[in-house]
């Protein structure tokens, strides 16, 4: 099955859609005009009909999320639309390409959504390291800055993050946007009721919003015909890892993982064997090479115990040491844990310590069980999904590749230094200053 740039990236291969004129030439911003001719509720209905579900990871139905926003007469506070462009999940880089290549479609999606939820204020929280995408959005905004009619009284503020994965979690993002320490809030209240500055707020992912104009243009029902029933429409999938052709591919839901990896990604290079696939970014449960005939849709992946997450597919070949993969992933989460809740803050550090001992060949099999138990004790106890997904992901490496872990118990890593992950570590020594106040005697 071939790639289908039908919706989000549609037209981007043929034209330079970063330019307003080019985007207009393919009917850009027509959907906005169409939406504005409708009542907000009618736009929400269109989204409900499309059954679009959030592309940020939680896969929550977008139309339903919008409909939770109280009407202005129910809550006098301003409404906010906050765009989650913090994309930091290892394996995921789709929003980068969407912002860089179709910034106007994204902005149009923001404006339509602002109309639907009756908001005049849009905040785009963009990952700090995403300089290119930031510039693309900024330049696109610059092109429409003077166009009052297009903007319709809506202000769009682009805020650059400061390098924290947790600020992609919607409530931590809101805290950070308010100038506070980026840590998740306890929910409820959900952002729709009390979000940014305690006001009704919609938080949506970049891809979700870039999908909105095509939906309005083609109609929700037409969109719902794409993909499969539980997962309508298309998805921009990031392929990476040991593949011949990594990159972003927009596909209709329902394509199998095998097709993604072999047909689009070109399979594993250098005559190697595929060993495992991480299907939805580093926080998802790993699949073995035998499990990849699963269709890439929400329900099918849930059935095999994993998730589509942020659609970052990472292929892992037979040279990779799974213990090292565990260290790499565990270190990432240890490093990115915000430090608010106990199980994640302390547990991820402990996980890394045990994995390191395993890698060095100094662990006993009781410590392998301890690792699983620590994961189990983190899972289901945290304030936000970061800690829990870290624990589930790492536990899945042990459960599905136990023999490889056992092989480490005497003598250390059987791959020697041949694993491409050897020596690759997260920069965990950042964030370790221990400041001392100067206090008068």
């Amino acid at each position: 099955m071939a790639e289908q740039r039908l919706v989000v990236l549609q037209g981007a291969d043929e034209r330079d859609l970063t330019k307003l004129a080019e985007y207009r030439a393919i009917g850009g911003y027509d959907a906005l005009a169409k939406a504005r001719a409708l009542t907000p509720q009618a736009v929400i209905d269109e989204l409900l009909a499309s059954n679009l579900r959030g592309r940020g990871g939680a896969f929550f139905a977008t139309g339903r999320k919008w409909s939770f926003i109280p009407k202005p007469d129910q809550n006098p506070n301003p409404h906010y639309l906050v765009v989650n462009a913090d994309e930091s999940e290892p394996g995921s880089f789709k929003d980068n390409e969407i912002l860089s290549r179709v910034p106007h479609r994204f902005i149009e999606g923001c404006l339509i959504t602002a109309h639907a939820v009756e908001s005049k204020h849009v905040f785009v929280y963009i990952r700090g390291e995403y300089l290119g995408p930031f510039e693309a959005v900024r330049d696109a905004l610059e092109e429409i800055r003077e166009d009052d009619q297009l903007l319709g009284g809506v202000t769009i503020v682009v805020h650059r993050g400061a390098g924290a994965y947790i600020c992609g979690e919607e409530t931590a993002l809101l805290e950070s946007l308010e100038g506070k320490r980026g840590q998740p809030r306890s929910k409820p209240p959900f952002p729709a009721i009390s979000g940014l500055y305690a006001s009704p707020t919609v938080v949506n992912n970049v891809e979700t919003l870039a999908t909105v104009p095509p939906i309005v243009a083609m109609g929700g029902a037409a969109y719902a015909k794409l993909g499969v029933e539980s997962s309508t429409g298309t998805r921009v999938v990031s392929l990476s890892g040991n593949l011949v052709r990594g990159g972003n591919y927009e596909v209709a839901h329902g394509i199998t993982l095998r097709e993604l990896i072999y047909d689009l990604g070109g399979g594993v290079p250098d005559g190697r064997e595929l060993k495992a696939v991480i299907p939805g970014g580093s926080s998802t449960v790993i699949l073995t090479a035998e499990e990849i005939d699963v269709p890439y849709d929400y329900d099918a992946l849930a059935e095999v115990g994993t998730a589509m997450g942020s659609a970052g597919v990472i292929a892992i070949d037979d040279r990779c040491c799974m213990v090292q993969l565990g260290i790499r992933v565990s270190e990432f989460y240890e490093h990115e844990s915000c430090g608010k809740c106990t199980p994640c803050r302390e547990g991820t550090r402990w996980m890394t310590a045990i994995l390191r001992k395993l890698e060095a060949g100094e662990a006993s099999d009781s410590e392998l069980d301890l690792l699983l138990d620590v994961c189990d004790r983190i899972n289901g106890k945290c304030l936000c999904p970061l800690g829990e997904t870290a624990a589930m992901a790492v536990a899945s490496y042990v459960l599905k590749f136990r023999d490889e872990f056992l092989a480490h118990l005497d003598g250390g890593c059987p791959f020697g230094s041949q694993s491409p992950l050897d020596g690759v570590v997260a920069p965990v020594n950042q964030h370790t200053q221990s400041p001392v106040a100067e206090v008068p005697a």
């Binding site: 306890s186 990115e336 608010k340 550090r349 221990s434 106040a437 206090v439 008068p440």
Partner: protein, 741 residues
């Protein structure tokens, strides 16, 4: 307000009914069930769900829930660790994770023995560790202020301290730095934690991470006694526990009176207790001896000399009261002097009045006010710090706070106050007639008939009103001002430190001083009788709400207490007065409190008497001290009115506590922005302040100050007159009169 709807739910099989919306932790407590917590603390705002100690299982929800974030809902079925295996496992996991990097240095930790982490580990935690890796180690303890030390290894990151700093004190000085397992508590920009409420974080901290430098290694919980008493340092009268060990006060803790202090203390009340052990504390009566200064004499001789001084004055006696005497002591003194000697004349630093009893409400009512009007030029925090916290709470709850220098309301504000059901007036300045002026204002706004509307006067002394009423109750005669003064009796340290009292002493033939400290007695007293502190006395205070609260003797003072020797002295003049506070109170209550209050009722958490009917304010029972002869009030063009103020951290008690030195005001003059600009003065500039005398101070521009005034702390204003000229110091090398510590 309509009565809240009740809901019925089941916790661990027990059915419990509570008002809808009650927190689950409180609901469980109603059913006699513990949901253990670390981070949960409703006084700090909405729950944050950080520590995960409170995990419970809720029927219908697959994942364990943080109990502290839930509220009671109809039909909810909850299992705590006691009945739900899953919840017990969750709590055990949380404790295991907390302990993974905890130093467990309990044997040398001040918290040991009264530590929630020890207690909850014992009840819910694992008995042994599975952690075989080196623990995270950090420098410890590090000071974050002269009074507070931080041990980051012990910190369990419950964020109570930072939440207090951000959402109660609103100082924003305590922050979390770094991320993940390297998260740590720090001060903003590594400046010392300098806030008048900083010490509360010590009590909030559920482990030994934030400890008091004063209490460090001083005692263990099983060898201490906590004496329930009240703080005597300002007119709020926060309820406190004085921790004592072997007859010495070792620390002050809050005792949460929800209507008065909500469990917060200011740093003065918390950290000033070492004044008991000041080097210059007087242990025996002292007599002036020519050339040698003072000579120590016995108590018998001391009372003989006192008797001689009293008799010698022939009734021409003036008593300068501090307003920090207990009402029992003031009454006894009044009986002795007024009945025994016909000496009716007494002064207090400020006028007092009971007129506001008609607009009485608990201080906590400020927190829910929709509009709070603060009138006067003194900072609320300098007069009654806790009131400042209640005002902040009102603002956080959406109330409006209006600050006025003068009691002049514009039509809009007046209308608002008239129509509001939750309006509060607060007088924070001089010349308020002890509340009489505010009572008139409240009456004119129709507050009489509105129980939700109240008015508070912030007096300059902790118990001035109680003292004045007790003095008035001691005899039924009007006062006469003796001329010349034969004997000035200086009662208490604040009076002894007051320049106005000193000025009065110059007109007196003899001076008898009752004070704790040598430094306050030298140079002017003929006889000094040692005084005791509020921590050493039994008796009662009347706070600014009009609430009679009881002081309990926490430790035996090194000298007989005032009531004891006044009783003996009174007997020599044929006046019978009990040396026991309870009996004096009973006598006094008869006249002053209509026989209603008993010493027992005042008890541990004193109730607030009901509102009185409004009566136009009466003339005050005890005169205020006449101010010292003021400089001629010439208003040259360009002069500023000197606004002298007495900062919270000042006075004889605070001066004797080295740890509080850094909280004392800098040698600064505060100027309104417009006045500073006209004089080309910038923030931090060294400036010359000139009246009869000249001072060099540092300028600070305060945007909230009205133009036309120069605000200087009393201790730095020295003998400046009432109007001053302020200009940039011509010599840029002149350093300011004092450095910020």
């Amino acid at each position: 307000m309509s009565a809240p709807e009740n809901v019925t739910l089941t916790i661990d099989g027990r059915v419990v009914e509570v008002p809808k919306g009650t927190g689950l932790v409180e609901t469980a407590a109603v059913a006699g069930i513990e949901i253990p917590v670390f981070c949960y603390e409703p006084r700090l705002g909405p729950p944050v769900g950080a520590c995960r100690m409170c995990l419970v299982e809720v029927e219908g929800i697959p994942k364990l829930q943080a109990g502290c974030t839930l509220t009671a809902q109809e039909g909810m079925v909850v299992g705590t660790g006691a009945t739900s295996e899953k919840a017990a496992e969750g709590q055990n996991a949380t404790l295991e994770f907390i302990l993974v990097n905890h130093p467990l240095d309990c044997p040398v930790c001040d918290k040991g023995g009264e530590c929630p982490l020890q207690d909850l580990t014992f009840r819910y935690g694992p008995g042994q560790t599975r952690m075989t890796f080196p623990k995270r180690t950090l420098d410890k303890p590090i000071p974050i202020s002269p009074t507070i030390a931080l041990d980051r290894e012990r910190c369990i990151l419950c964020y109570r301290c930072t939440r207090f700093s951000e959402s109660v004190a609103e100082d924003g000085q305590l922050v979390a730095r770094n991320r993940g397992s390297m998260s740590m508590i720090a001060t903003f920009e590594d400046e010392p934690y300098r806030d008048l409420f900083s010490g509360n974080v010590i009590e909030l901290c559920p482990v030994g991470a934030l400890t008091s430098t004063q209490y460090r290694f001083e005692a263990r919980p099983w060898e201490i006694q906590n004496v329930p008493t009240i703080c005597g340092l300002c007119p709020v009268g926060c309820n406190i526990s004085a921790t004592t060990r072997e007859g010495k006060v070792k620390r002050i803790l809050s005792r949460n009176h929800p209507e008065v202090d909500q469990g917060w203390l200011c740093d003065k009340g918390r950290f000033a207790y070492p004044h008991l052990y000041a080097e210059d504390r007087i242990a025996t009566p002292l007599e002036r001896v020519r050339r040698r200064g003072f000579g120590e004499i016995s108590w018998d001789d001391g009372l003989d000399r006192a008797e001689a001084l009293l008799r010698g004055a022939g009734g021409r006696i003036v008593t300068a009261l501090s307003g920090s005497e207990t009402i029992e002591e003031a009454y006894a003194l009044g009986r002795l002097l007024r009945v025994g000697l016909g000496a009716h004349s007494a002064v207090l630093p400020e006028a007092t009045s009971s007129a506001l009893d008609a607009f009485r409400a608990p201080l906590s009512s400020i927190g829910h006010a929709e509009v709070v009007v603060v009138i006067g030029e003194e900072r609320v925090a300098d007069r009654a710090p806790i009131v400042g916290l209640w005002i902040k709470q009102a603002r956080r709850n959406g109330g409006d706070v209006v600050e006025l220098a003068e009691p002049k309301l514009d039509a809009e504000l007046e209308q608002r106050l008239r129509s509001s059901d939750r309006a509060v007036l607060i007088w924070s300045g001089r010349a308020g007639g002890g509340g009489a002026r505010l009572a008139e204002l409240a009456h004119s706004l129709g507050f009489d008939g509105k129980p939700g509307c109240s008015a508070f006067h912030l007096p300059a002394t902790p118990n001035g009103r109680g003292v004045a009423e007790a003095w008035a109750a001691a005899a039924d005669r009007d006062e006469a001002n003796p001329e010349p003064i034969g004997l000035l009796i200086v009662s208490g340290d604040e009076a002894a430190a007051d320049p106005a009292v000193r000025a009065l002493a110059e007109k007196a033939e003899h001076v008898l001083a009752i004070t704790m400290y040598h430094g306050l007695a030298v140079g002017w007293a003929d006889l000094v009788l040692p005084a005791t502190s509020y921590l050493e006395r039994d008796g009662s205070f009347v706070n600014l709400e009009g609430r009679v609260q009881r002081l309990r003797r926490s430790v035996i003072p090194p000298v007989p207490d005032e009531l004891g020797w006044i009783s003996k002295l009174a007997a020599r003049f044929g006046v019978e007065i009990s040396p026991h506070a309870s009996l004096v109170f009973a006598e006094l209550a008869e006249t002053v409190y209509g026989g209603e209050a008993s010493f027992g009722d005042v008890g541990e958490r004193a109730p607030l008497p009901a509102r009185a009917a409004y009566e136009p304010p009466e003339p005050r029972p005890v005169a205020p001290i006449p101010p010292p002869a003021a400089a001629p009030a010439e208003h040259f063009l360009g002069t500023l009115r000197l606004l002298r103020y007495r900062p919270l951290f000042s006075g004889p008690t605070v001066e004797r506590v080295p740890e509080l030195r850094f909280q004392r005001p800098a040698a600064e003059v505060e100027l309104a922005a417009a006045d500073a600009e006209r004089r080309q003065i910038r923030n931090g500039d060294s400036v010359t302040v000139r009246s009869e005398s000249i001072l060099t101070l540092r300028a600070r521009i305060d945007r909230r100050l009205p133009p036309g005034v120069a605000r200087i702390a009393e201790e730095h204003a020295r003998d400046l007159g009432t109007t001053v000229e302020v200009s940039r110091s011509s010599n840029p090398f002149t350093s300011a009169g004092g450095e910020r510590a």
